[in-house]
Amino acid sequence: MSRQSMRANDPKKVSGELFTLTYGSLVAQLLKDYENVDDVNRQLERMGYNIGMRLIEDFLARANPGRCYDLRDTADKIQQAFKLYLGVSPSIGSWSPGGDEFSVVLETNPMAEFVELPDHCLGLRYSNIMAGVIRGACEMVQLEVMAWFIADQLKGDNVTEIRVKFVKRLEDAIPAGED
């Protein structure tokens, strides 16, 4: 009987699917609760922000990435975090001339694996939670950033692209004695 073996199939894949499906149920619930998709987008971003604030602790403890000295450093760490938490390696690119803005480009989006957007949801930024996670996580390491989607495979684009813009360092929050 193959009953025992199927659990072992690919545990990593399974836990990824569990997360994807749970997220899908959550988005479906939000769409039911709110009348317009802008509110859903905002709510997802807020949830992401809350997650990011906690996730950064987990990330720092697990990966021990050390301090970032410039935004390129930060971009690398974001890439590393994507690998760790979603099992995908995004590419970092499209730096702005001033070096304060970059893109995180995902070839595949594990969060949107089983998703198709119906016509009335075209305004929905399905994976908006990710933008919130980036913002929340950076804020906890004294970096104020903005993050938003500029391309989404669910909307027919080739890749999923998140733009991250550095706003400022939150100097006041650095505990005394650091640096």
Partner: protein
């Protein structure tokens, strides 16, 4: 795997989202939303998990599947104890339930525990529904992080 952390965080956000309405939304309504999310997740999840397994020979076999494989997949441990009266009532004991294990040991936060069980009740109900068993799932907790889920099968 770190993806587990993502699942935990999403679950936490789902719980805090349904309760953010404060006064506007009753406890029951919020719990039922969570239960519904769990149901939708479980219904889809079990379809993917059991793709390659054979047919389960009876209800008890299905319950064993829930206690062993499903629980390991979702909560990284097996159910500690399964009891049944052989008349359609099953009680699943988990002595260290994952969503409660970081909260407290003992009675602190006991009043909030049901919020963290509703999703799982739905998840189990969804899985069973897709395996052809219609049921009602309730959860009970007297001492964190242990809890028990009661499955009452509806005979049609």
């Amino acid at each position: 795997m770190a993806e587990e952390a993502m699942f935990d965080f999403i679950h936490m956000e789902a719980v805090s989202y349904v309760f953010q309405g404060g006064e506007k939304i009753s406890e029951d309504e919020a719990i039922s939303k969570l239960e519904h999310m769990g149901f939708a997740t479980g219904y889809r999840l079990v379809e993917r998990l059991t793709r390659e397994s054979g047919r389960y020979k009876d209800e008890l076999d299905i319950m064993k599947y829930i206690c062993k494989d499903l629980w390991v997949t979702v909560y990284k441990k097996q159910i500690d104890n399964l009891r049944t009266n052989h008349q359609g009532v099953y009680v699943l004991h988990d002595n260290r339930f994952r969503f409660l294990s970081h909260m407290a040991a003992g009675k602190q936060y006991l009043q909030y525990a049901p919020r963290y069980l509703a999703f799982t009740c739905g998840l189990v109900r969804g899985c069973l529904a897709n395996l052809g068993v219609t049921c009602v799932v309730t959860a009970e907790v007297t001492q964190l992080p242990a809890c028990k889920f009661q499955i009452q099968v509806q005979r049609g």
